[in-house]
Each structure stands twice: as structure tokens, then as C-alpha cells.
Symmetry: D2
Subunit: 458 residues, 4 copies
């Protein structure tokens, strides 16, 4: 199986974390899936992902002191494998695991994903429980000096045949459940070890190998970030997406910083290989963290986020509680022309990044269609400009095959650029308004933290 075919475009879906933290239960997952099937599926949204600690008893019950209760009860099977907490996921009892839930989600025409932590449960190592398909016990595959700095559940797995057998047994189980997507955590950047942030490397390879063996095309998503740019080739070889940032939340500082991260990773976006800007903290958030609230992003910031994620080509996982989405947020998530930028024939490059502004351009290699995004990163209304020639020159550099002929629309635009009267029409993909450019310098008046996204037409 070619893992790049598992995710031909950036995965789009919903993730339970931003709203539920560790507390999500089966009924809640189903409700979100139903909403997606009804309102979002037709626009390309398809993954429903259950995030961290679905296996933990009493998850969230000591939220004032711990996000993850140390040394607390975890649901495991006889082979040292975590199972859904039966209290929260009642259909999982009797060894059925997530199969019933996955089946339901599949029945809605959607895909099902789960979060896992790298490694084997600590308690399994201390209690010497078996590893399926081997004659060893968990203490023999667990590495006592490989832990996660922020979650107390697991030990890393040693790079041995028995360790691989453990991962194989995990993927065999997940495939039997019908899992389509795995978000593995504490593996992309093992940040407890600043001198060895890629200490999970062999576990990435073991996971990728186990996916190949399990026979199901399961998308592999790596967390947390920031991913290591010097390991880009390795992520590209083994995974489908990797987080280029630490946890992203609704904070302008983080959003502004994402421009720098997208600059860094702009030439690493390709079919099956998606640098990941993390979830979209839109709509209602935070209930599991102790207080339900609306996103702190302004409407302008929300549009800026959506524009950047789409033009850059990031996976998109909605953090909001879907049934509570309001109209404006739903509109943000269902703009077909904006979402088209995620298609793999669209490639984009940054034209400029300063402290105050950013400009990106995207080229559709098939149609030659060119889109430009201008961002006002300053804290007040400002005018942001870009030279049409620089824009088109950069668009040209987005061609998948540099040596190939320009696609027809690009040619037309470049030709246009020789005559003042043939200046392009700027079609605003968010407002749907169009206007003719009035000079070879394209300029937009933008509110603080706002943006415009134009399609350039003859």
C-alpha cells in the first residue's frame, strides 16, 4: 500500500478535544457525527476523531489538579492494549471496543479516527501482562526511561521484534474496529527530551509498518508539534500529517506565529504529506476544560485562520461542538471555493512575510487559476499591497513541474500583465464581490488581523 494514497488531500473532520478535553462519551461523538453527515459532509468534511484518554476511568474528574490523573485506572485487555472506558463508551463492552461506534459512523458515510499515546501502558509493564503474538510480557518491551512529559499513561516501546509485535497487535485491533485515522501523540516531537526530540523515530516506523501489515489504509497523524524541520523527509516517508505547532488555541499570538510556521513548511506540502496547523478553535469550546465558552477569535481572525489553513494546505479538524455551530461559523466552514484550495492540484507559496503583513499565492496546476491572499497582521486597519508581477512570478514557481508550460489561465494572466487595460478582475472568495484591479499594484484595505482572498480572473 502506498501511504500517500490514504490522504490525497488534507484530511478534514472534527476532533473532540477542544470542546470535551478528556471527557467525551459515545453519545456526544454520535451527535457530532450526525451533524457532520447532515451539514458538512457534502463539503468534504469526513473524519470523526475521538481524542485523548478514551481508555481512562474517571477522566476529567480531578480537572482542578490534573488534566491526566496520574497512576489512575486505565481500561486494558489481556494483551496490554488499551480499550474504551466502558462507562463512557457503553457499546464497547464485551470486547467489542470501538467497533460499534465505528460502524455507526461509517453508516453515516463518515470515517472514524482515534487518538493514541505512543507506547505501552505503564501499568502493564509494572504488572508484567502479556504481549499478543509473543512469549514476552510488557515489562520486556517497555523502555523505563522513555516517558511522555505531560501524560503519565505510557512507556515508550523498545525497538525490537517484540516491540513491533506489540504495535502490530494494536493495529490489528484497530483495523478490526474499523479505525480510519490514528492521531498518535508524544511521537512527532518528544519534547521531554530537548536534546533528543525525535526519540520516537523508531516508533513512527513501527506504527507505519504495522499499518502496512494490518491491510487497512489508516491515515497516520503525528503529534505534538512543533515537528522538526530536519526530519521533514522522515515524516514525508512514513506519515500523512504532522503537527507543525504545539497545541493551537484561539489566541492571536498563536495565529500570528502560524505564518512563520507556514513559511517554514511551505515547500513540504504534497499529496499524502500534510504539515498540520492543528485544530480550528471555532464556535463553542472548552466545556471539558471546565468552562464552555465561545472562541476568542474575532470574525476577522476566524477568516484569517481559515484562509491560511486552506491556502497553505493544512489538514482541518474542527474543534467546535458541531451541534452548537452558528450560521457565520458554518458559512466559514462551507465555502466551496475556499475549500478548493486544499485540493492537491493547488500548490501555494508565500510571497512575503513581515511583522505587519503576509501575502500568499496559490496556483491550480490543472486550470492555471491563481488565488492571492493578503493578510493584515498589524493591530489596526491597514492597507496591504503586492506587486502583480511578483505575485504571478511566485505563482509560476508553484507549478509541480517547473519546466512545464504554463497552464492556460496563468498564461492569460501573465499576458494581461503587459497591458494596463488588461488588468485582472479580483474576485473576493469570501464576500463574492468582484472588482477590476486599478493598477499593477494590488492593494486591499484590511481590518486588524483581517485578510482578503482573491481569485484573479481575466
Amino acid at each position: 500500500m502506498n501511504k500517500n494514497t490514504f490522504a490525497k488531500h488534507p484530511p478534514m473532520g472534527w476532533n473532540s478535544y477542544d470542546y470535551y478535553d478528556t471527557t467525551v462519551n459515545e453519545a456526544q461523538v454520535r451527535k457530532n457525527a450526525e451533524y457532520m453527515a447532515e451539514h458538512l459532509k457534502e463539503y468534504g468534511w469526513e473524519y470523526i476523531v475521538v481524542d485523548i484518554q478514551w481508555y481512562a476511568h474517571g477522566a476529567g474528574s480531578q480537572r482542578d489538579r490534573f488534566q491526566y490523573i496520574p497512576f489512575s485506572g486505565l481500561e486494558t485487555d489481556e494483551f496490554s492494549r488499551l480499550q474504551p472506558d466502558p462507562e463512557r463508551f457503553p457499546t464497547s463492552v464485551g470486547g467489542k471496543g470501538f467497533a460499534p461506534l465505528a460502524e455507526y459512523i461509517h453508516s453515516l458515510g463518515l470515517k472514524f479516527g482515534i487518538h493514541i499515546m505512543r507506547g505501552v501502558p505503564r501499568i502493564a509493564a509494572h504488572l508484567h501482562t502479556p504481549v499478543k503474538g509473543t512469549n514476552v510480557t510488557a515489562d520486556q518491551i517497555a523502555d523505563p526511561s522513555s516517558i511522555c512529559g505531560w501524560n503519565p499513561d505510557m512507556y515508550g516501546v523498545r525497538n525490537t521484534p517484540e516491540g513491533q509485535a506489540y504495535y502490530d497487535s494494536l493495529l490489528e485491533l484497530y483495523a478490526s474496529w474499523g479505525v480510519d485515522f490514528i492521531k498518535c501523540d508524544d511521537i512527532c516531537n518528544t519534547n521531554l527530551y530537548p536534546n533528543h526530540p525525535f526519540s520516537g523515530r523508531h516508533e513512527i516506523e513501527m506504527l507505519a509498518g504495522a499499518i502496512q501489515k494490518c491491510g487497512r489504509p489508516i491515515v497516520l497523524s503525528l503529534s505534538p508539534g512543533p515537528a522538526l524541520i530536519d526530519k521533514a523527509w522522515h515524516y514525508e516517508k512514513y506519515a500523512n500529517m504532522w503537527r507543525i505547532t504545539d497545541d493551537f488555541w484561539d489566541d492571536w499570538k498563536l495565529l500570528k506565529d502560524m505564518f512563520r510556521r507556514c513559511e517554514l513548511w511551505q515547500n513540504h506540502v504534497s499529496e499524502g504529506c500534510w504539515p498540520d496547523c492543528d485544530m480550528l478553535p471555532l464556535g463553542k469550546l472548552g466545556k471539558g476544560f471546565g468552562q464552555e465558552r465561545d472562541t476568542k477569535f474575532t470574525p476577522e481572525e476566524q477568516q484569517t485562520m481559515m484562509t491560511l489553513w486552506c491556502i497553505f494546505g493544512s489538514p482541518m479538524m474542527i474543534g467546535a461542538e458541531l451541534p452548537l455551530l452558528d450560521e457565520p461559523t458554518l458559512a466559514l466552514l462551507t465555502n466551496r471555493e475556499v475549500l478548493h484550495l486544499l485540493h492537491p492540484e493547488c500548490r501555494a507559496k508565500q510571497v512575503r512575510l513581515t511583522d505587519d503583513s503576509s501575502v500568499w499565492v496559490s496556483l491550480d496546476s490543472k486550470t492555471g487559476s491563481v488565488c492571492a491572499a493578503l493578510f493584515n497582521l498589524s493591530d489596526s486597519t491597514a492597507s496591504v499591497s503586492v506587486e502583480l508581477d511578483e505575485l504571478l512570478e511566485t505563482a509560476r514557481a508553484c507549478k509541480a513541474l517547473p519546466d512545464s508550460e504554463d497552464p492556460v489561465s496563468l498564461s492569460a494572466l501573465c499576458e494581461a500583465s503587459d497591458s494596463e487595460e488588461l488588468l485582472p478582475v479580483l474576485q473576493d472568495l469570501w464576500t463574492k464581490e468582484s472588482r477590476k484591479a486599478d493598477s499593477r499594484t494590488l492593494t486591499a484595505e484590511l481590518p486588524a488581523h483581517g485578510c482578503v482572498l482573491w481569485k484573479l480572473c481575466r
Copy 2:
């Protein structure tokens, strides 16, 4: 001008440094150019590059104490620009600069390159000499805290319009001389400043801008390495090649380490964008360093170097004194099938790197032809193997457009892989011998530090 069209394939040529250090003179440059025109040009070799301190009086005369004599005489014009040392480059007198030498090299059907140091001469700043096209003097564009850690000649230039004017005046001069290639030093990694190794960033942009303005398609090569992987996008935007290593010499440790560097940069090789493994220290070397000698690389190591540089897609600059080349070295440099791997339609990926071995595969996107290189990195004879399926899977990942159909030869090879009797023929591109693979595991017995380079055929 699209700078990627300046260097559609990795530049191939000769550089004066490895043999002459700072001491090369005009007659020597001409002799090497004549040799290239006669013996190497037809294979694609075309650049003749004069390396460091062509402007320095008495260069090399205190070689026991200094490579670069501090506070010594430099030839400059009235506009704070360095000129060739008239003693060593006699045709340069009367303000002609390198024009006569460039003209001669062009007359041989070759291209002419020079080395420069980032910045403006220190002495110009201390003497307040003029900057062409401005009403300022050199002290006003020089940054007194921006120096090179290993060469005493220059101050960095400030990021101002007057600074840009200085670089414009340089490129105007070089274009008037007929320069085709600039190797700018102390700019790719300004290693004196470990916390700010990219402090020359604005000077890269100023140089690239000055090239655009000068109207001549001059290839821009950045030194020294190691280039910064997190600035890959910037090099790709502004330069044609950048050194991924500090100075490379004929030392197995450095050659072995290059495998790690090629691993790192493997997904950054594209038309007009060439990560640079540095010069080929073959043949006779070192005269200007105080002792003429033969390369210390064994024949196996020489073949390994050529194979890696070609399959990876590095620029290739010969360090040897060309008129003294012997037959085996000449043969290494003139193998058309091996050199074909440098063509931009060929893309390669590393299949594996361990402490003992490495395997690479290259795909010709046009013909679908597949080549594989197996390297023995250990210090004794060893057998190196690779699974045919892994090789072909990796070759498939080399396609420029992942989604495109497999080219015909690749399809044929992959089909072949379904039947034992259809195993590929392995054609050794160095020895020209062919043999049928005897199993789906391809194996080669290799001498210490040696390699094999196969073309896979039906």
C-alpha cells in the same frame, strides 16, 4: 527573469580552490579552461570558476601564518569595488577587470564564474571611499559588527537603499565583465554568529535583486555550509545552489558524513534549486596550500563520491588541476549514463541509511527508467542488499506528480515484480556489465567504502 531557468540542471565545472588556494593566476585559469573545452565540455562540464582572493596583493605569500593576510593590500576601483590583482591577472589592467579572461573562456564555449565575499572591503569603510550611484561613502553602508570569522577582507553591508545600490554596482560590473556564475561566501551560514547564522539573509536578497536588475542570467551559489535546513525555502526562492556542508576534502569521514547530509536535503532538489555537496577533490590537489599531492580518496571512494553526487543531484565542481588528470579520473568524470542522473527529470530518494550501508534509488520521470545505488559504508568488504519491492515503492515516490500514472518502464518493472521469472536485469553503470537479478532481494558484494550503481531493465 526566473532564476530557476539559470541552472536547469546542477552546474558542472572546475574551481581553482582545491589546487591553487588563493594563488591562481590568469595563465593557470586559461590552461584549465582549454583542457575542459577539449576533454570535458561534451559531457556537460562548462563552468570555470576563479575562487577566493583574486583581488588580493601577495595572496598566499604568508601561507605558513595566514591563509588570508590581515590588513593587507586589496585591488579596488574608485567605487569601493574589488578588482583583479593586476600582477596575477595582467589583462585586467586599465579597468578591464575580468572582461578579457571571460571573453576568452566564452570563446571556448564555456562559462565564467568568480568567487566573492559578502560585503564591502573594510579598507573602503575606513577610508570613506564612494559608492557608485549614491552620494554616500563606504563607511555609511558598512556594518562594523558584521564580519567574517575566517577572512579579514570585508564588512557586511547594511540593509538600506544605499546598500542595495552597492550590490547593484557590483552586479553591473560583473555583468559587464561577462560573469556567468557567482559563488558568494560567508553568506549561506555566517558561522561567526552561532545564534544568528542567517545574518546574511538580507544580503542574499540584495544579491538576487541585483542579478535581476543586471539583466544577465548569473547563477547564484551560496557558501559556506552547512546550509540551514530551516531556511531551505529561502535558498530555494533566491539562489541556485547552496552548500550543505562545510569545506569538503578528500577524507572518508567527510564523505561518509555526506550521506547524512544528502538524507537531510533529499526532498529539496529541484530545477534551479541545487543543494551543493561541494567540490570534487580528485586528481592533483593542494599546490597552493603548500604541497601538491594526489587525492587521498581510494578508487572505491572516488566512485562512491561520484555516484552519490550524481544520484542526489548535487552541483559538481572539479577540484583537480585539469591538465594533470589521469585516465581513471577522466573516466570517472565522463560516464554519460552516470551523469544523466543529474538531469532534472531524474529525481532520487534515499531508501535506507545505516552506519554500515546506504541505498538510493533514482527515477527518470520521462522514461520511467530506474537506477539504484548500493553503498558499503563499512571499513571492510561486505554484502549490501535491498528488497526490490521497497526499491520500486520508493522509486514510485520519486514521481514529480504523485498522482500521475507510472511511466512505462516503471510500470513494467513493477509488473515484473509479480513474477519470479521476470526479475530485472541489473546493468552496472560503472563496469557496463549486466546480470539478471536472482531473487527479489538485490544483493551486491562491495569493497570497503565502495558502491554499485545499477540500471534496472526488463
Copy 3:
């Protein structure tokens, strides 16, 4: 000469920098000296130090763009040595240098100090001017890759006999002028080179050697900080004081941070060896920086600074323009009991440092007298406490000879601590008020950023 005898207690004086920046002139220096002789000398204040660029023509004349004008004129003698700018220091003409000014200051019963930059003037290296006592020129002793990151005047000096001869010639000159104190800059932490911040090490040793040879007991002060704690033994061997902080100004953040620095260096304060908290930015400041202003420190912060500097044992150099001192500031600087803490028989230790408070204790090894300082580091009024027993235990650890008997007052206090009725009297050294402690927990109500300094008496 034993350099520790040059500064038996922390040097106390005035420095031109905080008020005049680079612009100070002879008349201004004299006026400050006269004020000191009249109002401060009797309290121990004795040094008058002329800070940076007394040798620079037009210093300060481009203050909007440069603190130090690059490549500008410097006054030098025939031996590559800097001389006072004759415009600002008119008595220096005719080769007299600072001798007339030093003589005047000595005539007031004070001592004279100058600031120098490590190294030899860059212009001397580029112009190849002579080095006294040698047959070499400045280019042969200058290291072209050793510069200061923030001042463009000098090159570092090579570690050779000719380099030593240069420093010997400097100290010969300074001794002939009557200099008593040298503040050498860019030498304690050569911060341009973060991997080699002690690259000036050999120049410290050369300076110390030149002082020994010159025959005059000149105090050696090293800047800038932060001094490197792993080189404490080296500073202690060669210098009299070294800056433990980068430039200190009237900013609470910097003052609060000084507590951490004093914690770090607390066990490195001894006779002739004084970690230096930098100048006291009190009174009128900043005229040479473009705007004369009052210190931004509140009265509480001023008292906190004075208390910390004194109890820790820092050198004290007043930054204010002395003739403009007001009464409260003068009172701060002339409190004999507080200043007594600087005497070398007083040793102090930190009892506690938290984010909100700090406590220090000082023991006079001769008299056994104990002083305690309690600081409120929080931003609002707060009560700060310390256990009497912990205080006295720490005071005991301040004895120069741990094994020696307790001095009499300390014994008395410790005895007192056995009986409630014998609690100590707390004598406030700033307000002069006394009160009996009311429990074995000593507590003070303190304003934000304020402190109390008690002498503990029976």
C-alpha cells in the same frame, strides 16, 4: 604587588556614563569631582571615572543614529594608543593626556579612573602604525576576527609578546598620567561570541600583567556583564571587580533580577574581589542620551537598591550628575551605618529568595554585629517575615573561618534566642527607629518594592 590590596573594600565613586553617555568633557568632570570632595568624600566616595569614548572626535553628534559613530575619527598617538579628544579635554594637548586632569582630581583627595575598550584601534591596524617597544606595527598584533559587537573602535589583541608589549605601553602611559582605576569593556563577557564569551581571557591576563609591571596599584574593573560564573576563579585571580549584569538602569525589572544575580555570586565576595552590580542610576540622568530626566526608581526602589548593593558588597558608582543631587538622594548616599556593610569584615548571605520576597543577613566578623534586610519584591504592600533562628544560623555561616568561635555579639544574640524575654531590639538603619522584636518570627510591613534594614541588638 598583591592586586587584592588595591581594593580592600568595594570601590565607591562616580561615573560619567549615566548622565553624559559619550559626551562628557573636562569641565564637567571637574565639577563632579569638586562636589564629591566637598559632600561625599568623608563617607568613603573617592573615584571619579571618565567613561567611554573620551578619545572620539564628535562623540555623541549622531546620537539619533549611532551611540558610537562607525569609522569616525579617534585621537591617537604615534604608538597606536588612544588619547583624550582635545576638543573636550583641552588640558590634554601637547601629549599631556589625562595627566593634568588626574592631577587636579588627586589634589582634591580623590582618585581618577578611565574607561577603555579591550584591544587596539581598528584604524591603527588598517594604517599599520607602530607599537611602542617593538618593531612591529598594529596590523601584526590586531586580530581581525576579534571585534566588539556594539562598539566599532577596536580589534582584539593577539596573545603574543608583541601584544603584551602593546598593553604594557598602555599601562605605562596610564600610570604616567596618574590613573588609579581602569574599567575595561568588552572583556568580561565578549557577548558577540555566545559560544566563546570568554574570548578576552588572555587580554585580562595581559592587562593584569601590565598593571603589575607599571608599578602603580591600578584597580582593574571588567565589563560588561553578565560575568561568567564558571570563570569566577579567573576574575578573582586577575581582577578587582567584574560586572555581574549587563548595563543596569532605573527599571524595576532589572532591579528585581539583581536579587537572582546576587544569589548566584553571594559566595564570591571577598577582599579585592568584588562582583559588581553596576552603577547607581539615581538623581538626574540621561542628558547625553538626548533627554535629561530624573531616575525612574521610586524612593522605595532607591532604598532597596542601596540596601542590596551594600549588604551584598557591590562596588558603588553613582550615575547621577552630582552637582544636581537633591537632599533625599544625598541622604541615601551618606548613611554611615548602611555604608559600613561594605567593609570587608562584613560578610553576607542570602537567607531566602522567592518571587515575592528576599531576606539577607550580614555579619561583622570583628564585632559580631548582625544586620538583616527584608525586601518586598511584590507589586503591593506586603508583610515579609523571617525566623530569627534561621537568620542567626545563616549569620553564623558568614564567619570567615567556619571553625572559629562566634564573635561576642553573635553569641549574645544566639543566647538571647533561648528566652522569649531576651528577644533582640531591631534598629532600623534607614529610619533610625528601634523596636523590640515581639516574637521569634521577625516581620515587617513593607511597601511595594520596599525594604527594611535592621541591626539586631540585645
Copy 4:
């Protein structure tokens, strides 16, 4: 209790690690104690220390794979406290712990020490066993993200009253056993966390506090090194000794490197505060590591080690199996005049350290007696010299009170230095030979890695 009185001179003793690794048993400890009592005690040797994993079942039984078997059985009591492995320490059964062994060692006139790991057993946290004196269980005091990088037994303890209660319960137990010395590991430098190597800081303070409460003057020794020089003040405040090096073994590279470490810490040696160069790998070593062997140090290196440790003032713990000591090794360990340098009235300083040689000088503040050590750090026989004046000047700087009068012998030596005929007599403390210095430059011909240690006499 003043902790500095617990170790008035550097502790001297024997440690089980170098010979036994984790495997030592009671009979072996007793045999070594008996040897010490008979042959070494009169020279000051007094501590018998049982090193790591005395609590581990089957310690050393998987030595080919693990030094410390992960997730294996540990002997614990009902309060989450480790107890001696009853198989190896049979007198410990019935809850007696180390009391019987300690009693025996005390009966020999010696002192008893144990090694502990920072923290609480991991298994106690996972099994939720009680913490004495509290109503919490071990999971509530264990920090799941605080582990040791090289030993799998423990979790760090949180900085809470319950955490302090755990340490109090440990020290109560150890005091009841009669423990005199604790070597706590994974606490001086928690090197798993390179960005936070002092993450055990609060556990140092908790241990020191627990020692104060337990009422027994237990020496606190911190491992592993390298200790952090910027925390010197903290070690000095809370501990008696701290390792300035990672594990030291019989390897010249490590011994040579110790000169740099002693340079760094030279001004931090005082009564009760002993930077620790680690154990003396002399005699028979390594049995528990799988192969009994003789020290790899040459006789010259052994003498160099002993000389450096003594003149610097390091604690000295013999690594050899004592009953197997040969005569020359015993002689090294029983030279009274050399061992005298450890007395707290002797203070030493480094005079010089180069790549080839080192010179140290020691002053006895009471008698004024001066000793000098000259080391040949090169790999061949060489002559090492030092100027008598520099030596005496440095000796003078060793006075505890810089301002005090010179002691009589030092005065005599310094006076002597004014007349050639009064040159000192050099008494070799190792060979016992004496000779008169023949010039003011003292010179020794020394074998590779060898040294001389002179007492200077009139």
C-alpha cells in the same frame, strides 16, 4: 544542627560500587569494614558505604542486558520505603533493616553510609501504598514525569508537605538504623533533563530538612555530577559534598579532565562543603561488572590522582576491594603528610593549568607551611617548572582571611625569597627525599602523567 560540622574535613572511606556494582552483600561489607578498622582507620579512613540497589531482588542477575533490571522486584516496607534485600543482607529480616550491620560497623569504630535514589519507588506509586505520617498514598506524592534517565526504580517526589513527610519518614528510618552518611543519587544533576538539570532542587532541600529533623548528624553527599557551578551556593547551603564529575573511572582522559574540574571548583572548598572528585579506582575493581581486574592506572597516574584529590581537598572513597589491597596501593593510602593536605586549615589554589602541565599550591593557615604539586599532563617525560615567587604569591592568596598577617613559615619562605642563598629545601612527600632548590625557578623532571609533591622548608 549546623550541617558544616558534620564533615569538618573531606570524608574518607570505602564504597562498594567500583568492585561490586549492584551485587554487594552483608558478608562482603563486613570484610571490608574489618580491613579498614585494622589497616586504614588510624590514617583517617572511617566511612563504609553500601552503594546502589541494596534493596533490589536479583540485582546483577541480568548484567549482560541491564545494570538495573527494569520493573523487577524491590524490597519495600508498608510505608513505601525501600528495605535491604533479605537474601543479600540476612540480618535485615524482621524489619531490622540496616541496623545490625550499622551496629557492627560502629563497633569497629567506623561509620556507616548508604546510597539512595532520589524519590519514591515507582511500584509504590502504581500500587498506591501508604506514606507514613500522612493520610495519602504514594501515587499522591510521586511526580510521574520526574524519573531518572539511567535507573528505573523511582519517581521524584512532589514539593508538598506530604512529600516532605515521606523524606522525613525515610530519615527517621535511617537514623533509627544508625546511618551516618547518605549518598543520594539522581539529584545533583538530573541529567535526563538537560534544560532543567537542577530539577531535584526541592528534593535536596527536603532531604536536608529531614536530616535536621531526624536529630542525627548525617553527612549528605549528592550525585551524580557534574555539579552545576551556578548552584554552588545551594550545594554549599544544604549539602556536605557534591560530585563535580560524572562517574570517574581508571582512564587517563578522565583523570586529566579532573584538573579542569578542580580549576573550576577551587574556590568552593571549605569546612563542611566539599566538591567531590568521586571514588578512587585503585587496586582490584570490577567484579560485579562481570570481570575482576586491576586498576588501569599506572603507578604514576595513581600518585597523580592521590595528589590532586588531597591538595584540592576532595572527599576520598576507595573503590578497591580492601582485603585484596597490595602494598604499594596501601602505601598510597596511608601517607600521613599527604593526607594532612585534606585538613580544613589547608587551603589550595591552582597556580597554572595548560594542556601539558599543572601546578597547585597549598597553604596551612595555622602553621604557614607551603606545599606545591607539579604535574606532567603530557604523554612523555617532561620537565615542569614554576617560579617560586608566583608560587608564594598564590600561597598567600590561600589565606582564609586575606587581610591577616602571614603565618610564620610563609613569612620565612617569602623572606627567603629575597636571597639566593636562602632558597627553600624541597621535601618530596612521596619519596621522602629532600634537596635544596637551585634557583628561583623550581623544576622537576617528571614521567608521563606523573607528579611531584613538595613541602617547601627553610
